[in-house]
Point group: C2
Chain length 491, copies 2
Amino acid sequence: MLRIDFANCLIPRVGVHGLDPARLATGSEDARAIAHLTQRLDQSRGTGWERWRLLPHELREEHVSACRALAEERRGRFENVLVLGIGGSALGNIALHAALNPPTWNLGEATERRSNGATKGNCRTGVPPVRPDGLPRLFVVDNVDPANFGAVLGACERLGGLEKTLVNVVSKSGETAETAAQFMILRDLLKQRLGERHAENVVAITDPAKGTMRSICDKEGYATLPVPNGVGGRFSVLSPVGLFSSAMVGIDIEALLDGAAAMDERCRKPELLENPAALLATLLVELAARKGKNNHVLMPYSNALYLLADWFRQLWAESLGKRFNTAGAEVFAGYTPIKALGTTDQHSQVQLYREGPNDKVIGFLEAEDFEGADVAIPSGLGVEALEYLEGKSMAALLSAEKRATEYALVESERPNFTIRFPRIDAHHVGEFIWLWQMATAYAGLMLGIDAYDQPAVELGKQATFGLMGRDGYNKHLEKVNATLVGTEWVV
Amino acid sequence: MLRIDFANCLIPRVGVHGLDPARLATGSEDARAIAHLTQRLDQSRGTGWERWRLLPHELREEHVSACRALAEERRGRFENVLVLGIGGSALGNIALHAALNPPTWNLGEATERRSNGATKGNCRTGVPPVRPDGLPRLFVVDNVDPANFGAVLGACERLGGLEKTLVNVVSKSGETAETAAQFMILRDLLKQRLGERHAENVVAITDPAKGTMRSICDKEGYATLPVPNGVGGRFSVLSPVGLFSSAMVGIDIEALLDGAAAMDERCRKPELLENPAALLATLLVELAARKGKNNHVLMPYSNALYLLADWFRQLWAESLGKRFNTAGAEVFAGYTPIKALGTTDQHSQVQLYREGPNDKVIGFLEAEDFEGADVAIPSGLGVEALEYLEGKSMAALLSAEKRATEYALVESERPNFTIRFPRIDAHHVGEFIWLWQMATAYAGLMLGIDAYDQPAVELGKQATFGLMGRDGYNKHLEKVNATLVGTEWVV
């Protein structure tokens, strides 16, 4: 299971920039507060916007069987899956695929499934990374950049054609402008090409009962899966929102939910030092409140885990970044989540992390085992300065670089922690997702804010409607144009 | 040419969180200070670590002709280019390719060059995005993650084979552990496959006179291009470091340097309001010093420009993140550069940017023209709530979303500015790179720090050597193990 090593967040390691370990010990004020919050979370579990907590439990069977059945029915008939969604309707899909399939998934043709199941490949043993036979390419388009959109569509045209492309549109309401625009274009192209039959090329994940997308689906006969009631976008990756596209590309969605359920059990313990989510939230909230560490870096030493940092960025920023607390006081709460990659960012960000303002907590992610993928560094170059690398493995170098960076940060009194993955697989990724969702719930309570709303996004939406000429939003257009009237302040 | 619109950084727009425009006016204290710094930069130009300033001028002809000649000689013989490098030896290469070639470059087979030169594709006009005939795929590997490395090598094996893969190793010294390890593996694989002939598959960009990689190249007969003296990694993208791989994938490197030279002329003007780099540095340094905006977000509304933000992250973080100023006083200078993407991050970060701590400046990048790539949103869906989108273009929606976000940030008194690209092409990307390199030089002087060193990176390197068993580094190993000794602080 995942482990969090947090010794480097404490005074013995990082001096005045760390927390006092006594504050975390059994019987301490913090530990008692956590027991109380755990009780509150047990009471609110499954109610209101905390229905996401039912995903690996009460809602699991229904979602898994629906996603599997639809994936099995459509798989084999399509060469490409094109996910249309944005924010919580895309970040989880992107992250799961990047974490659990090779980065070269879309390159080249699908080949037969290897008997050893090693889809990640190994450059020394000659097992090339492959996309197993029958599984489609996956493209997730979450922006309305026309050049990017056109390139992806062009690729689908060349690689099997739109006829062989399944459009998986993800939108609870159907009114998110970006997703709606993408969908209107794709639907039109498919309809021109396939007529009524185009419905076979669409799977919508949307509100089960109401809304614009619901009514489109009912009218056109598109297959649908639910965005469950009471599950907000940023907490939805383990619902059909993330599970359907994962199932299409061969990810073990049962293992994801097993991991989430296992982590859930740990995160319901009342004892701070036995509860990973409570501990993580305590570290980050207290290091911010007491030590001014408002910037929270997630730095995987793994390319596969890198895009989980984008999923984390939404969860942490949008849940906790709030002007008002639930009592109505202005607090401007929140932390800035930052995405980094080890070792790459050692050569980009670590100079700043060690010598710049001491305003960060750095969270490392580390895989303990790269299984069959590791590779030995050969001898024979005959250069003394590089002899120390000969016969070592690449994973050993990655691990040494991570430990060296951890050490260098400690030397500069910069708090950091490590989340260890025994392996990068669906079970542990499920644990990871649950860990942060639960930590967000705890942090929301600690800050006294509503972790489930996003009031500040509304104004931009209305302004966009105004600028795009939607009826009833002319006042917003006028306001935007008055506010941003042209000036001479241009160079 | 690029324009910076900075009205939203000023008091009239964002109140007490903005700068007083009077401070920037002709004759103001800031404007006089800039005139003085411009003079200092004119004097140091081309000396010490400011030799990068010669790249689009005195050094241009030599670099362009050498890169072109070698690229033309090798192009057509290879299906894949595999860049091995990290930090400044990779970030520029990645960013240029992402900015100027379609994201689907590596997908599928190269096809004939289209007569209209539209390599970016357009989903409505039926021009698929293609890789012009004779141009190779490009992979840049900047990490030592064995799973990622194995997947990329496996893809090269399947797509033409290692025999058809040109390894472009980029390392000034040859001793950067990550790049050395990658290179040792590739060299061994190539040598097993091709024997002596493998030298044809290697192009090294390294120190022209000395160092480990230099001696390897001399011994093995590898073709080389120079990392020019006095050009640090993070200022090297417009040297052969970035130009060679760009030339291999058809990027117009003359236009890049034209753009840089054109921006250089603007950035040598003594008048603050005529000098984009001086203005950018003044905004960011003063908003940090006077208003506490220490986090600097770069948020392109363009997928193509998104990875330029990673290049910027290194430049800004590593150059300005310094514990001591040049007088030896402890200052812990520096700003945290943050990468974001519009519209995508409107659904992830903008809630925080509007309601969280007011500690950021948001820099938007915007393309005024997507040329042939734009696409119209069709009518015919018959849904009233989405009618406002019908007949509009995707670029218009992107632009409206950006303007709406700008407006929403202003309403929350969050300073922001916009850098406008007339088009995304090599000339304007060259301007952009030069703008930030010059702004970094100005900011370094304003902060009184050395923008060209990276002293904090050294300790981690030594610790890595110790952990990897390199002779002479045992003391570092002991120190690391003593510092990070196992504890009970694990959950």
